[in-house]
């Protein structure tokens, strides 16, 4: 039973990573089975041809894991980076909990992969020393070979394969000192970059099996809708088209993608009208607004110490955060080939093992009868933690007794998503007679955006609600009295994890409201934050420890690098925001905006500083910051999903805007050296602080306080 998202993702890390593994080499990336290989564990295989095959246990969806995880393995293995091949892990006896999310790939894999690489290295050194009959302590490994310095002898790993394979696998091999790292910490290019720029990279949508059919599903626009009429004969008149009723709606199956799409258009399903009380996002906002003023489930309560000053005035604000779609460019898709006694799946998925389990359950078989091949993913962002597309493919393949590719259209993807849930945040700040911030209240009204409903006992568990309140309860600031709470509001449309999950809405509200408090006091919002971060270096909030010292440091870096106090032009403004993501990654932004007379906002510059622990690939860190900033610009300034009559209204990038080249600011990334001995996540942390930094900059530019996303030009017109 999944009790909380964090528990799920943390156990989804590596599944214990047993060190004795036999695995199927018939997987992606063309690693072939070769005679004579040394395979001490599931992660590393040294081949007799001098290459090394590394297993990637995380789904590659743009976060660069195929490169960064390979770097960790190759570092400890002392492998030759130019002779690396990769295989993608599939669920099986050796990989029982594959899953990619929560910005947890590096933190969760770090120790296991180092040990796996080091074990292989130690065995190769032992094999060489035995061959030379020398003391193994006098031997060392580097760049794919073992060296005996005294006698100037060396042996390539390939020559040691047979001998090393006979040795016992050390359980606790020595790990390299950070000062000896050759790969980790060096800017490293994507290991699969060439495939991408030549079009050779294969994503889920690119999988073609012999005799494969194509399916497109017409789904009800609102939950429970029944078809009123459809033109079945017209659809069936298209050569090869068949209609297959399925759990999700009506599947149109054809021999080519185009025949299938034409069949679906010809079918012209008319759905019954929605009931009067069908889901409506504006009405939902009113419910959320009301709920945010209730008491809720307490997620943090710091009582003011005795002798603290009482608040003499209190300011209030409510912040509104809308629904968003993931909108990856590769729409949902999956290939399934259901046979009599087994099933083969090719899926761009973040959740290979839950996919295997769910498909097995659906087919009434056991997981080992379902082979799951994980492809490259054309954008995940949390959407592909759900496995609905795989269940659809399995259902239709079983019905038509052929391999089937289910492909969602852009409009399917936009309207039938697992949306980022809307929320409303009610905040108040109490100031004492000297204008010191002495009380902070933040109640989030939102929905349980886990993929499945939790164990009912979890609903009495503070940790569960704290998970839903990242950015709310983990306030980093020193305030004598802090009370935060969560109110659950039912949400009858599909929703689920989205890049940075629960944090973006909460950090938007917190970091914008802190700005409001600063302005009410007449203080500089930057100086006010630094003031509020004085005091004890760390603070406990739930299971997280917030390191104020690290947060102060990233703030100080962006203050200096952005020239915070420099003058700005009319209708230009500068804003700041910061956050500690999951108690791990510390980020601060300074954003410069220009607001034209029509109210259109342009983000001109973003200066970022991050402390994400030990950096494996600085290039990857920079890319994730840039991408996270663009993601945040999209949600601050562009598309939102709205519902009328139970149905999502947006159909494509034409009416759900996302950032384009013309929206791109100048971006400066400063990676702040960290004392942490391990890496922390970077996929999600860059997202939350960008929207509040933008609205804070807009306030500086126009004097108008934006409390609802996305920002609308009509609210910012010059008078």
């Amino acid at each position: 039973m999944i009790t909380s998202r964090r528990a799920f993702l943390k156990t989804a890390a590596l599944g214990g990573a047993s060190l004795v593994v036999a695995f199927d080499t018939r997987r992606l990336l063309g690693a072939g089975k070769e005679a004579g290989q040394f395979k001490p564990n599931g992660w590393v295989r040294v081949n007799a041809d001098g290459t090394v095959t590394l297993t990637i246990g995380k789904s590659e969806m743009g976060q660069g894991v195929r490169t960064s995880l390979a770097m960790i393995l190759a570092e400890e293995l002392e492998a030759d980076w130019s002779r690396i091949k990769l295989v993608q892990a599939s669920p099986g006896p050796e990989f029982k909990r594959l899953g990619t999310g929560g910005s947890f790939s590096l933190a969760g894999s770090w120790k296991t992969l180092r040990q796996a690489g080091a074990a292989a290295r130690e065995m190769l050194i032992t094999a060489a020393a035995a061959r030379w009959k020398v003391d193994r302590a006098a031997c060392s490994a580097a760049n794919g070979e073992v060296v005996h310095t005294a006698s100037k002898r060396s042996l390539k790993y390939a020559a040691l394969v047979a001998d090393a394979a006979k040795l016992p696998v050390p359980a606790d091999p020595p790990l390299k000192k950070a000062s000896d790292f050759r790969l980790i910490g060096k800017p490293t290019k994507r290991i699969d970059g060439r495939d991408i720029v030549t079009g050779a990279a294969r994503y889920g949508i690119d999988i073609k099996l012999p005799k494969m059919l194509y399916a497109s599903i017409e789904r009800p626009p609102w939950r429970g809708a029944k078809p009123k009429r459809s033109q079945d004969a017209k659809a069936l008149a298209i050569r090869g088209v068949q209609l297959v009723p399925c759990a999700g709606g009506i599947a149109v199956v054809g021999e080519t993608t185009w025949a299938t799409l034409k069949g679906r258009a010809a079918l012209a399903v008319e759905w019954e009208d929605p009931p009067k009380d069908a889901f409506d996002s504006e009405a939902h906002f009113m419910r959320l607004d009301e709920a945010s003023q209730q008491k809720g489930f307490s997620t943090r309560k710091d009582d003011a110490p005795a002798g603290s000053h009482a608040a003499v005035r209190t300011i209030y604000a409510s912040y509104f955060y809308p629904f968003y779609a993931h909108a990856p460019v590769e729409t949902m898709n999956c290939v399934a080939d259901v046979r009599e006694d087994h099933c083969i799946i090719w899926a761009p998925t973040q959740a290979p093992n839950s996919l295997q389990d769910e498909v097995a359950k659906f087919l009434g078989t056991t997981p080992e009868k379902v082979e799951v091949n994980v492809t490259l993913i054309g954008g995940g962002f949390g959407r592909r933690l759900a496995v609905d597309y795989a269940l659809e493919a399995a259902e239709i393949s079983r019905a038509v007794k052929a391999p089937v590719q289910v492909l969602w259209t852009r409009t399917d993807d936009m309207r039938q998503g697992h949306f980022q849930a809307a929320s409303v945040h009610r905040l108040s700040a109490g100031l004492d007679s000297a204008d010191a911030l002495v009380a902070w209240r933040h109640t989030k009204a939102g929905s349980l955006h886990n993929l499945e409903l939790p164990d009912p006992t979890a609903l009495r568990d503070a940790a569960f609600f704290q998970d839903l309140s990242w950015g709310v309860y983990d306030v980093p600031y020193v305030i004598p009295s802090i009370e935060t709470a969560y109110v659950t509001v039912d949400l009858p449309v599909r929703h689920g994890p989205w890049r940075a999950v629960f944090a973006p809405s909460s950090v938007f509200a917190r970091e914008a409201f802190i700005d409001e408090v600063a302005h009410v006091r007449g203080s500089d919002p930057f100086a006010f934050r630094l003031e509020l971060l004085k005091g004890p270096d760390t603070v406990k909030a739930g299971s997280l420890t917030i390191d104020r010292r690290r947060l102060r440091r990233v703030l100080e870096v962006v203050r200096e690098k952005s020239d915070w106090s420099a003058a700005v032009a009319v209708r230009h403004g500068r804003g700041v925001a910061c956050n500690v993501y999951d108690g791990a990654t510390h980020i601060a932004y300074v954003v410069d905006v220009a607001v034209d007379d029509a109210g259109k906002v342009r983000v001109e510059r973003v200066v970022a500083a991050v402390d994400c622990g030990l950096v494996v690939n600085p290039t990857g860190v920079e890319q994730q910051i840039e991408g996270g900033i663009m993601w945040g610009i999209s949600s601050a300034l562009m598309g939102e999903i709205t519902f009328r009559g139970g149905a999502a209204q947006q159909a494509s990038y034409a009416d759900y805007g996302v950032a384009q080249m013309r929206d791109t600011p100048a971006i400066e990334v400063h990676i702040v050296p960290s004392e942490a001995a391990q890496p922390f996540g970077m996929g999600e942390p860059p997202v939350p602080p960008i929207a509040p930094a933008i609205v804070n900059a807009i306030f500086a530019a126009t004097g108008k306080r934006i409390r609802r996303l996305p920002i609308r030009p009509e609210d910012l017109k010059a008078v």
Partner: protein, 157 residues
């Protein structure tokens, strides 16, 4: 169904498809050239971009019947070895994240540089209008386009 003759990546091809089949599906399903991506089918994302006489065109917007007799280049043939200045620039600037939109982006850049050897920021913005990278690789794409432009200008001298 019609027999449609066209030239793809320098080779004459004859495909038997419905007249209204968008070229993106002829390339992907019939000719197995999956480097050309499907992202929207309505011309708003740019993933299916290919080249015709060096100009970037969206293959989802060209029905097979209109592709007759025309000559197109897909990402697979921009170079066989990633040696085209745009591909090299993309690798040098570490542009790609998930990579899905990048073939379309690279070919869009090729089209831009044919007409604007030294593009301004505004020309880059305009050329990449309605070209969607959800990972947000735009800052690096801009640098890669400038780098490729410089290489192409040097080659011409």
């Amino acid at each position: 169904m019609s027999e449609i003759r066209l030239t793809i990546n320098g080779a004459k091809r004859t495909v038997s498809v419905d007249d209204d089949t968008p070229l993106v599906w002829v390339l992907r399903d019939t000719l197995a050239l999956t480097g050309t991506k499907f992202g929207c089918g309505m011309g708003v994302c740019g993933s299916c971009t290919i080249l015709e006489n060096g100009q970037a065109v969206r293959s989802c917007q060209i029905p097979a019947s209109e592709a007759k007799g025309r000559n197109f280049v897909t990402i697979e043939a921009l170079s066989r070895d990633a040696s085209h200045p745009c591909q090299r620039a993309w690798l040098e600037e570490d542009v790609a994240q998930c990579g899905f939109c990048q073939p379309g982006m690279i070919l869009t850049a090729c089209g831009l540089l044919r007409d604007h050897p030294d593009p301004t920021d505004e020309e880059i913005d305009a050329a990449l209008s309605d070209s969607i990278c959800r990972c947000g690789t735009y800052p690096r794409m801009r640098k890669a386009i400038r780098r490729a432009a410089a290489t192409l200008r040097t080659q011409k001298k």
